[in-house]
Subunit: 137 residues, 2 copies
DNA sequence: TATTGTTATACTCTATAACTATA
DNA sequence: TATAGTTATAGAGTATAACAATA
């Protein structure tokens, strides 16, 4: 097998992200959370009162796709919505939501630590800056 | 906005991969190809006679999901299938498929070059090895 | 005028299970 | 017994368009 793709950074980036995503999805699933839900809980925790739109912009999720996720989190009793004005709702964690957010943060920290540990030591420091550079513009 | 996720390598890995995928998807789409189709054409080009199963293993695509992709490529006249034995089919590019594979390879090379160029020079060499390490088991 | 939130819809990719035919 | 190929189906994520209400 001549694996011509395996030296292409963009291709390997996609495969590595898929592999890591599979792992974190399984970890969040053990908490009864989807990937997007867990991210939202952690971001609401750090930004109480944030709006659904602002969350979506931060996470790269479109408004239209945020609506059902927020609805699910609210009907699960993990977040509550408070009207800020006639069109915006501030989001905050409920008590149960705070527990889930804390659990998600622990699971996330475990995953991130294991991920970094797999990278050869000499490449670790450069990994995040390299990825960040790909996200600019 | 306190963006607590933006320092998490695993999270930024996912976002960066999504951003790069959006770009390469658009480029392949201009050739009338989907991402998986383009990868398959390039891999068949480098491995004439390869089976659908072997392709799937190399690309991380399950057998069940390969079937419709291969069927589409065959009905588009880009690949042809030749029975190797009673249960395996060897895949090869048609003339038109070869042109598409060449075009896909050019587009891929452009994308990969631009991707690398965005990474600060001192982190470039370590980027691929770091990603590869995440794919080992 | 631009933004928020929402509904509806469609597409892609992925995952599983089941089946046959063959090595 | 394990593998190749296929079909069917379900889930998750993502994309666009459109609309009402409000800033």
């Amino acid at each position: 097998m001549h694996d011509v793709m395996s030296e292409l950074p963009g291709y390997v980036l996609r495969r590595a992200a898929a592999a890591m995503t599979t792992e974190i999805v399984a970890r969040f699933a053990s908490l009864g959370l989807r990937l997007g839900e867990a991210s939202i809980l952690m971001l609401v925790d750090a930004n109480p009162g944030i709006s659904s739109s602002a969350l979506g912009r931060a996470l790269g999720i479109q408004r239209a796709n945020m609506a059902p996720i927020i609805a699910r989190l609210e009907s699960s009793g993990l977040i509550k919505r408070t009207a800020v004005n006639g069109r915006m709702h501030g989001l905050a964690l409920t008590g149960h939501g705070q527990e889930k957010a804390d659990a998600a943060a622990r699971v996330s920290a475990e995953q991130e630590a294991e991920l970094l540990a797999r990278i050869p030591r000499q490449y670790r420091a450069g990994f995040l800056p390299a990825l960040k550079a790909l996200l600019e513009r």
